[in-house]
Symmetry: C2
Subunit: 428 residues, 2 copies
C-alpha cells in the first residue's frame, strides 16, 4: 500500500508520521516543494524579533530524520504538478510520477495579497516562509525603516507590530474591518487599540488599503490572512467548500475515494455555529494531519472541528478569543448575550494585574458559546478553559460553579472567569 | 424576614452579601466570634513569608463596610452558643438571642490535631487564623529555628515548607499517608519529593507522628488538615454526613427547614465519584455561601459539587490535581487507566520548561475523570482545562481534539495536555 503526501510542513508531516506509526509496512512518500519540512511558521515573528538565533530553530525535524528514523521517503524541492486520480498518480514538475493508493493533500496556504496594487514593490513584504523572514530581517537591518505599515490586524499583524516597534519604526496597523484577530468584537478591539496606543502603535480600523502609496512608509508588511493552495486539488476534480478551501468530512476525506486533505488547504467546521470555516492555524493543521494520516492508514478517526481559539501577545498583553463573539453569534442566528468584567487575576500581594474576561452565551438555556480574555499573564490558560467549556456545550450555571484551582500565586479566590459568568447569568 | 448567619469568613459573608443583593428588605445579621470578617486564610503562608506587609492585607472588607454599604448587621466578637430551632432563635454566649426565619451555618473548620500528644507545647503551631500566623511569625523572628518539622503534606504543608526553608530552617515534612495534596498518586508524589529534595526539604512519607518528640526540631507546625466545626449544628439536631461535616443538599439545605449550611463546616459531593467529600477550601466555601445566601433569600440555586481541584506552589513548582487519581478511581470502583507525559510548555526560544501532565480516564468509553499538572509556569491554566473537561464529562477523543490556544509565548503547537491525551488514548 502506497501513501503519497503532498506538502511536508505541519499537516503533511503529521499525516505521514502518524500513518507510519500505525502501519510499519506502508510505503510513504512526502513531496515538499521547499527545502525544509516540519517547521513552524508561528515562530517567524520571533525570528524577526531576534529571539531565535537562526531560522533552523523553527525546524522540528530534518528530512533526514524522517528518512532514517521513520522510513518516510521525503522529497524536498519536489513540486507536485498534477493529481491524476484516474491512474492514482501524482505527476511532479520534474516529469516523475508517483503512484498512490491513498493520497493526503497538505498543500498549505499562501499570503492573501488582498488585491493590493504595488504588492510586488521591493519594500513590501509578506511573512509566510523562512525565506520571507530572512529577506525582511535583512531589510530591517540594512534599511532601518523609520515608518512601517502593517496591513491586517490578525495575530500576525499584532505580533509584527511589536517587532517593528521594538526595532524603532513608527508603526501603523491598517485593518479593513473594524476588528482584531478576526473576532467581531468592538469592545475587545477598543481595548487592544488603547493598549497599542500606549506603545505608540496606531491601529487604524475600517481602512482598506488598495494600493501601496509612498505615504504608508518605507516598509509595508501585508498580513491580510491566507488563501488556501487549492489549485492542484481543484484541477483534479476535488470539491471546494464555501470558504474556498478543500471540503472535507470529519475523517478528512475529500470527494475522491482514498484522497484526504488536511491543514491550511482544507476547511474545518465551527463547533458552535456548525458552519464551515477557514482557520489556517498550526495547531489545527497538525490535528487534521494526524487524523488524515490515521485514516489513510486504515483507522477511523475524526476531527470534529474548531471553536476558533486564537491568541496573540502584543507589547506584553495576551489577547485571546474563542467561540463566537456576541456580534458573530447574532449574525449566525443566535440570541446571544455577553458580559465583560475586569478583575485581578492574582492577589495584589502577588502583583496581580487586571484581566478582562468576556463571555458569550445563548440567552435561552444559557449555553456558553464564546469568550475572550485580555491579560498580561495567564490569558492562555483562561481562554483554554472557555474553549473546553464551549466545546463541551457547557451551560453558564455549570461554568459558574467550576472547581478552578486557587492558590495566591495563581489566582484570586473568585477567578475572573467565574466573576464574568456571574455577571452574564444575570442577563439570561 | 430575618436571616441570621453564624460565621463571617468566606461562606458566611458570601451568603450574607448575596442575600442582601437579591433582597433589599431582608433583615440580615452575621455573628462572628473573631474580630475580623471576610478574610482569606489562603494568604497566611505568604504573610509568614513576608510578602504581605500586614495581616490586614488578607482582609477583603471590614465589618464597617458591610454595616454601612450593605446594611448587614455584622457582630464581631460574638459567639453563637446554641441553635434553638424550635423557637427559631440563636442563643449567643453573651446571653442575647437572635430570632431568625432563615439561618445559614458557616461555622468553618479548625486544624485537625490528629490526636498528636504534645500539640500544646509552645514550639508547636497550627496555621488557621491571623492570630496563629502572628504568633508563628514572632516565633520565627525571635527564635530563628534551625530545624523545623511540618506534619502533613497537603497544600498548606507544602507552602509552609517553602516559607520555613527560605528562612533558613532545615525542614522536614512528615506525612502519614504516602501522598501529597491528599491525591493518591505515587508517581506525582515521587516527582514532588524529588523537587523538594533539590531544595533540601525532606519529604518523609508513611510516617505518622503521634507525639511531639524533641528530635522533630525546635519548631513543629501541624498541617494535618481541618475538622469541621459541627458541634453547634449537631446539638441542634442537624444531620451530619459520612465525612463528619454537615450534610447538605445541592441547595445547601440541612435537614432542618429554613436552615442552610455552607463552607468548611459542610460536606460536598464529588462530581466524578458521586460520593460525599470533605474539601474545605476558600473557593468552595465562597461558592457554597453564595448559593446558600441566594436560597435563603428565596431563589432556587444549586451547588452541584466539586472535582477536588487543588494547587500549591512549592519552591517554584506548581503542583495541581483534579478529579480522581488512577488509584483513587480504582478504589471508587472505576476501571481506570492513566498516562503521564513530560513536555515543554513553550518553545525553547521562549524558555519553555518541562511540564508533567497526567490524565486519568475510564477504560471503557474513555471518559476523562482526573488529572495532574506539575510545572513551573501555567500549571494553573492547564489543571483548569482538565477540571472543566472532567466536570463536563468529556471523553478523551474529544479532549484530544480541543482547540487550545497556541502562540509561541504561551504554548507549544502540541500542548502537553493534548500529548497526554494522545498517550492515554492508546491505552483504551
Amino acid at each position: 500500500m502506497r501513501l503519497v503526501v503532498i506538502g511536508g510542513v505541519a499537516a503533511g508531516m503529521s499525516a505521514a508520521a502518524r500513518a507510519r506509526r500505525l502501519d510499519r509496512s506502508l510505503d510513504i512518500t512526502v513531496v515538499e516543494k521547499s527545502a525544509q519540512v516540519a517547521w513552524g511558521a508561528c515562530g517567524l515573528p520571533y525570528f524577526l524579533g531576534g529571539r531565535l538565533a537562526a531560522p533552523s530553530e523553527l525546524v522540528q525535524y530534518s528530512p533526514e530524520y524522517f528518512r532514517r528514523e521513520r522510513s518516510i521517503d521525503v522529497r524536498t524541492g519536489a513540486q507536485a504538478a498534477a493529481i491524476e486520480h484516474g491512474r492514482r498518480q501524482v505527476a511532479l514538475a520534474s516529469g516523475h510520477r508517483l503512484a498512490y493508493d491513498r493520497l493526503v493533500i497538505a498543500t498549505g496556504a499562501r499570503p492573501d495579497l488582498a488585491g493590493i496594487a504595488g504588492a510586488d514593490e521591493p519594500h513590501v513584504f509578506t511573512l509566510a516562509t523562512i525565506d520571507d523572514a530572512c529577506r525582511l530581517k535583512t531589510f530591517l537591518r540594512e534599511r532601518r525603516p523609520a515608518r512601517a505599515a502593517i496591513v491586517g490586524a490578525g495575530y500576525l499583524g499584532l505580533e509584527l507590530a511589536e517587532v517593528l516597534r521594538a526595532q524603532g519604526a513608527a508603526t501603523t496597523i491598517y485593518e479593513a474591518r473594524r476588528e482584531v484577530l478576526g473576532h467581531r468584537d468592538p469592545a475587545l478591539t477598543d481595548l487592544v487599540a488603547q493598549h497599542l496606543a500606549r506603545f505608540r502603535i496606531e491601529l487604524r480600523l475600517g481602512e482598506r488599503i488598495t494600493r501601496i502609496e509612498p505615504a504608508l512608509g518605507d516598509l509595508v508588511v501585508l498580513a491580510c490572512g491566507f488563501r488556501p493552495n487549492v489549485e492542484l486539488a481543484a484541477e483534479a476534480g476535488i470539491e471546494l467548500g464555501l470558504t474556498g478551501a478543500i471540503k472535507v468530512s470529519e475523517r478528512m476525506e475529500t470527494n475522491l475515494g482514498g484522497v484526504f486533505a488536511a491543514g491550511d488547504c482544507a476547511e474545518g467546521q465551527h463547533l458552535v455555529s456548525g458552519k464551515p470555516v477557514y482557520r489556517p492555524l498550526g495547531t489545527t493543521a497538525n490535528k487534521m494531519g494526524r487524523v488524515a494520516g490515521a485514516n489513510a492508514a486504515g483507522r477511523r478517526e475524526r476531527f470534529p472541528g474548531v471553536v476558533g481559539t486564537t491568541i496573540a501577545r502584543v507589547c506584553g498583553l495576551g489577547v485571546a478569543v474563542t467561540g463566537l463573539s456576541e456580534c458573530q453569534a447574532r449574525a449566525d442566528g443566535f440570541d446571544a448575550v455577553s458580559a465583560r468584567v475586569e478583575a485581578l487575576e492574582k492577589p495584589r500581594y502577588f502583583f496581580g494585574t487586571p484581566t478582562t474576561v468576556e463571555l458569550v452565551a445563548e440567552r435561552r438555556g444559557g449555553r456558553l458559546i464564546g469568550g475572550a480574555v485580555l491579560g498580561e499573564t495567564a490569558a492562555a490558560g483562561r481562554i483554554n478553559v472557555i474553549a473546553a467549556a464551549v466545546t463541551a456545550r457547557m451551560r453558564l450555571d455549570d461554568f459558574e460553579q467550576l472547581d478552578l484551582a486557587y492558590a495566591p500565586p495563581y489566582a484570586t479566590v473568585w477567578d475572573p472567569l467565574l466573576i464574568a459568568a456571574q455577571q452574564l447569568r444575570k442577563l439570561l
